[in-house]
């Protein structure tokens, strides 16, 4: 963690005191205003409710925290072994990637068995479904951001297109989930191409901001196109999925009845769980497959160096478009799943913060790393649930975690890259060498 205050000088007491003094002043300015003086609405206007103790306490925490950092992390002389010895760090990294071969299948087996484990209850299954949805979205976005290096801040738009496509098709035409699912994916991919075509010539950051704008446009349209989308009220009563035509309801012809089971509302949850697991695995399978095909290599080459790609005869526009459309398609699948699971959708589920969350999963996991996405989804979504009690604070904690993890590991948790083809021996590529799509 770089600090402009050079460690050696900060260890001198005078410098340290000055540094802490500045910290104290700044944190008093920050907390003293915003926390120390709370505005409350009273009849006829506003009044201030002083909360000096909280403000002072927060400022004190900031000063003490900085002191502790000075005495520990920042005061270690240069070249001193890092807190986590290099060996351990390397081993952890190795474990994360090297054991990927074991870890991945083990995780898969666990995922397959999860609904039948003794401790699994409805809450855990619901949470797992949520995590898997984000795994799938993360994998979808990973194609765009991680492989092709195109920064997309509006991914949620395709999620929304998928969800609304399914909801509208199923409600108006009564088509089954299995028919609507591919259609939702195709429509999302179609929108990916429509939106992608004009903007893909833009440089990285501009692309990011335009995709953000498109995401917002789609949300605003959903919000205001009342007769078509139901506006802010959303669409409710979306058909629930059936087990290939057999509904999950009580009574004759239902799932329980057909298979001679006692009716349980868990059946549907378990089905939904396997459904999203299958969809996520499909995403993963296709992505892994594509990586070994010319198109996948072209995506990665594009991330590494667009100019070199053009000099080798790659039509970078179509390479970008395919990445954009493929990612959008999986977003569309996930959206259709979301709609059928919830039974109700509204524009509120498709805000920018959703896009940011998915992007955070991809980047924190380590761009381009499939297993990283899983770890990051479990950590972020699971972590989010852990702080469920602290309702008000969990977004705050989430934001702080995002900042800290990024500073700690700017390249994400798993930064190594697996080659797509090898002659004799498969060697992982160190993350330091892998480009991140630097803007072109």
């Amino acid at each position: 963690m770089a600090s402009a205050a050079s460690p050696a000088s900060a260890r001198r007491p005078a410098k340290l005191a000055a540094d802490l003094g500045v910290t104290a002043l700044l944190s008093l300015a920050i907390f003293g205003t915003m926390v120390g003086l709370r505005t409350e609405t009273i009849p006829g206007g506003l009044e201030l409710q002083p909360q000096w103790t909280s403000a002072l306490a927060l400022a004190a925490v900031a000063v003490v925290g900085r002191l502790v950092l000075h005495l520990t992390v920042w005061s270690r002389p240069e070249g001193a072994p890092p807190l986590l010895p290099m060996g351990v760090r390397a081993r952890v990294e190795q474990a994360a990637t090297g054991t990927g071969k074991v870890f991945g299948p083990a995780l898969l087996v666990f995922a397959l068995l999860l609904p039948f484990l003794p401790f699994t209850d409805r809450y855990i299954l619901d949470l797992s479904i949520l995590v898997l949805t984000y795994v799938m979205l993360g994998w979808g976005l990973n194609i765009v951001v991680g492989l092709a290096g195109l920064l997309d801040l509006g991914y949620v738009a395709f999620y929304a297109v998928g969800a609304y496509s399914y909801a509208l098709l199923a409600m108006h035409f009564g088509w089954s989930f299995w028919l609507c699912l591919p259609l939702a994916g195709i429509l999302a991919a179609f929108w990916g191409i429509i939106l992608g075509f004009p903007v893909l010539r833009l440089r990285g950051d501009y692309l990011a901001i335009v995709t953000l704008a498109f995401g917002e446009i789609i949300r605003i349209v959903l919000l205001n196109w009342y007769w078509f989308t139901g506006g802010p009220d959303g669409i409710s009563g979306i058909p629930r999925p059936s087990f290939f035509g057999i509904p999950f309801d009580r009574g004759e012809g239902g799932f329980a009845d057909t298979f001679g089971l006692d009716f349980s509302s868990m059946h549907r949850i378990i089905f939904l769980y396997f459904l999203i697991l299958a969809l996520a695995l499909l995403t993963n399978f296709v992505t892994m497959r594509l990586r070994r095909l010319p198109i996948g290599r072209a995506w990665e080459a594009l991330r590494e160096d667009e100019i070199a790609c053009r000099s080798l005869g790659l039509n970078t526009t179509s390479v970008k478009l395919t990445a954009f459309a493929t990612g959008a398609m999986f977003g569309g699948f996930a959206g259709a799943f979301f709609a059928t699971r919830q039974g109700f959708i509204s524009p509120e589920s498709f805000t920018f913060i959703e896009s940011a969350l998915i992007l955070a999963i991809v980047v924190l996991g380590g761009m381009g790393s499939q297993i990283g996405v899983v770890i990051a989804s479990v950590a972020l979504i699971g972590g989010f649930e852990v702080f469920r009690e602290a309702e008000d604070f969990r977004m705050l904690i989430f934001g702080v975690a995002m900042v800290l993890i990024m500073i700690w590991r700017p390249r994400g948790l798993i930064a190594t890259r697996e080659p797509s083809i090898f002659l004799r021996e498969k060697k992982s590529v160190s993350g330091a060498l892998v480009a991140q799509g630097e803007g072109h």
Partner: protein, 289 residues
């Protein structure tokens, strides 16, 4: 076929705002020959390359590529990615542009993107595992292995390209360009920063390409001593304009070229040479410091 005009550059001019980087340049590169484009730093050599390969659109001029089939391509009218694909012109870059995070083999596979794309049924066949993609991929790996062997990189095939030493990266970039199946190979300062051993390896690779393959090579080089050994034909640029064009022998003795390289004016050349001779003679007796 050697000796036919492969690339014809006519009246090429490139201006950036008020600056004329290339000024009315005309020359011809022939099949089966190494043509060197030389000149002091900042003479406009790389700009010529960028015009040839479509990264810049020239202000004035025509660039024609002749295939032995009789097909001709006007490069200044083609989008950059079609130039390697259709006109079969491949290039390398002054500041090496490899896909650093991909392995050496992957780099060579990306170079064969277009044929592989067709073989994979534009991905659809490939995903489903139908069509002749497997065979095509095997062939592509074979071609990659061929060039890896020629570039002396066989042992590094599975290492990340960004991990290779400088000289290996240079040769890999050339091997990658060759994997696109070019008829004209444009090399931008391939010898820059190489040590003598690496230079030697590079020269071997270039001479092999010229001898074994029916392609022309166009070479930008700053360092004349490198160029003299391997070129068949040299074009000298200074301030964006051509100041000489001929065989290495002719170029070596052209006073204009000497002047450009020494950074002195034409009339001073003899004086300077004389001076150097004298200092050398004076110092010769003392030995070296």
């Amino acid at each position: 076929m050697a000796g036919d005009a492969l690339l014809e550059v006519e009246h090429l001019t490139m201006r950036f705002g008020g600056l004329t980087a290339v000024d009315d340049l005309s020359f011809v590169a022939r099949r089966g020959e190494i043509t060197a484009l030389i000149g002091p730093n900042g003479a406009g050599k790389t700009t010529v390359f960028n015009c040839l390969t479509g990264f810049y659109k020239p202000t004035v001029g025509r660039i024609t590529m002749h295939h032995e089939t009789g097909d001709t391509f006007l490069l200044e009218r083609m989008p950059d990615f079609q130039i390697p694909r259709e006109a079969k012109v491949a290039r390398t870059f002054q500041n090496i542009r490899l896909f650093g995070g991909m392995t050496v083999l992957e780099n060579l596979m990306v170079a064969q993107h277009n044929p592989l794309m067709r073989a994979s049924g534009f991905t659809f066949g490939g995903v489903l595992g139908i069509g002749g993609y497997r065979a095509a991929e095997r062939e592509a790996v074979e071609l990659a292995e061929y060039w890896l062997d020629k570039a002396g990189l066989m042992a590094r095939a599975d290492d990340a390209a960004g991990d290779l030493p400088y000289g290996d990266q240079r040769r890999l970039e050339i091997a990658r360009a060759m994997c696109t199946g070019p008829k004209l190979l444009c090399l931008d300062e391939p010898a820059a920063g190489l040590n003598p051993r690496e230079s030697e390896e590079l020269n071997r690779l270039l001479l092999f390409i010229r001898k074994e393959r029916d392609v022309g090579i166009l070479l930008i080089e700053h360092d004349m001593s490198v160029v003299m050994g391997i070129s068949d034909h040299i074009v000298v640029l200074d301030y964006g304009a051509k100041i000489a064009d001929g065989t290495p022998e002719q170029i070596r003795n052209d006073p204009k070229v000497i002047a450009a390289y020494l950074g002195v004016e034409d009339e001073e050349v003899e004086e300077v040479e004389h001076e150097i001779e004298e200092t050398a003679a004076a110092a010769g007796g003392e030995g070296t410091a």
